[in-house]
């Protein structure tokens, strides 16, 4: 396992240094035992609410990335499991102030309904602050048992971080998939 740990550590350090996405994906392609984000509340999708009873959607502002990022239905959340950082002080791709973004996490593949491309989405968790409590969302397209960590969203991936306490989850575009999701 030493080899795997070293790989993970190396990956974490690369991300910390802000290495380009391209090189990261190349590395991923070379074969990372990805791993998952976080909890599941069964039927959490129904329970999820947005920023308020009748609020305007939080959007990218461009037609190519459609949908309300405070809604569990947003396309990037196809395999997310947890509180949406967009409702917690962060955004779809950034952690709230006061937290630390987990350096590694699991990678999903979601199809953007606007451009019909399959994007590789990294569900990095935000760590070190307790449960955000807002916009709980659980979707499991492509989720598989824990024996396949790179395809399972039940792990707490606040793991490479200083604290393992979980706050919320992001859904970061890290590239376009070479292939379509199954």
């Amino acid at each position: 396992m030493a080899g795997f740990d070293k790989l993970t550590e190396k990956f974490a350090r690369r991300i910390a240094r802000g290495t380009s996405r391209r090189s990261m994906l190349a590395w991923l392609g070379a074969g990372m035992t990805g791993a998952a984000t976080f909890p599941v509340l069964p039927v959490a999708r129904a329970a999820t609410h947005g920023g308020g009873p009748t609020h305007s959607p939080v959007t990218a502002g461009i037609d190519q990335d459609p949908g309300d990022r405070t809604s569990c239905d947003y396309w990037r959340y196809c395999a997310i499991d947890g509180f949406l950082c967009t409702c917690c002080g962060g955004s779809v791709s950034s952690c709230p102030p006061g937290t630390e973004m987990s350096p590694i996490t699991w990678i999903g593949t979601c199809t953007n309904p606007a451009d019909n491309r399959a994007y590789i989405i990294s569900y990095n968790d935000c760590c070190g602050t307790s449960s955000c409590g807002q916009c709980l969302c659980n979707r499991n397209e492509g989720d598989r048992p824990q024996v396949r960590p790179q395809s399972n969203n039940d792990y707490n991936w606040c793991l490479g971080s200083q604290s393992s306490v979980y706050n919320c989850s992001t859904a970061v575009i890290v590239g376009v998939a070479l292939d379509q999701p199954k």
């Binding site: 035992t33 599941v40 307790s130 492509g142 396949r148 039940d154």
Partner: protein
Amino acid sequence: MRFLALALALSVSASAVSAAPAAYPTPLPEEPIPTVKALPKAWPKSWVVIHDFYFASILDGRLAVVDTTSANQPLKGLVRAAQFANSLVSRQRGEIYTAETFFSRLTRGERTDAITIWDMETLQPKGEIVLPGGKRQQSVTYPHLFQFTNGEHWALVANFTPAQSVTVVDLDARKILSEIDLPGCAQIYPTGERGFSSFCADGSMFSVTLDDKGQVASSKTIAKVQDIDKQPLFSTPAMMGKTGWFVSYYGQVQGFDFSGPVPRPLPGAFNVGTAEGGAPEWRPGGWQVIAADAKGLLYVLMSPNGREGSHKDGGTEVWVIDPAKKARVARFPLRSVGVAVGVTPEDTPHLIVARADGVIDVHDAATGAFVRSLGATVAANPILITPVP
């Protein structure tokens, strides 16, 4: 003391005698302080332990001890289960064990992983066994991340850093015996007298026997016990003695005999079947989707909206399966979407259903008839139901 004296004077002044009615010549008696309830030494077979994942504060998770016969006072007590905890209950040892994680400043600071030992009569902690390395696996709670072996004298704890390993703990001596690397494998299924098996990423099962020091005595790989792409098995089986019955995302049922030193997949996997009304089809769905009763029947939580990704959505029916006949013998409609099922070992067994809205419903296990609801009164996010064997 000046202010104190004044305060006291004021507190005494707040009063004026009244006459009690003749109907009740004697006042209600004084009650003793302090008084703390205890639980029976032998918990009734109608009691279950419900794991409350406590999403609103995952670091403050808990176990609820629940009397399923009581609609008005079902909650008998809470046991701490902090930060993605796992738990075990041993009737023979009279103890509950929680594998937990703590930080010195609640959310930050120094991390300590430990097994806490709780007395089943008092629910008080009796001690702890610190787990080294800060590597305890944190996941939404799966029962098979923390298991007994060696006749409940030892416990096995799953680690994930993401390196995978298992820590072997001597519960009698309250010490760590060993750590066993488990690259590419997950979950712990106790196997034989002293050992365990795990599912591995290539679809095989890896099995270990332990010597009396907790070291690996032998190990074996059984190839192709599951097809993770085509029939991924839910990680949590229904246990009938030492036989584990697993169900796949698509309803395939596969048994494993864990009684010997090496697990034995039971021949003749079969499907729970289909039914009308699926949109698009019926599939197992929930967090704890399968349970067993003492008669040898399986209870599978089923969703009519089965599709890719629906496997954690919960179910609206429980299908009763006879694995001996490889056939479905009944369909029980639920009152709402269930996420976990368990069957009590009572003389008249009950099917306990934890619903997505937090309500616990009790059904007759033989007929599926609704018996009572406990309301949403024991747990915020009930995800596992553990009958006490």
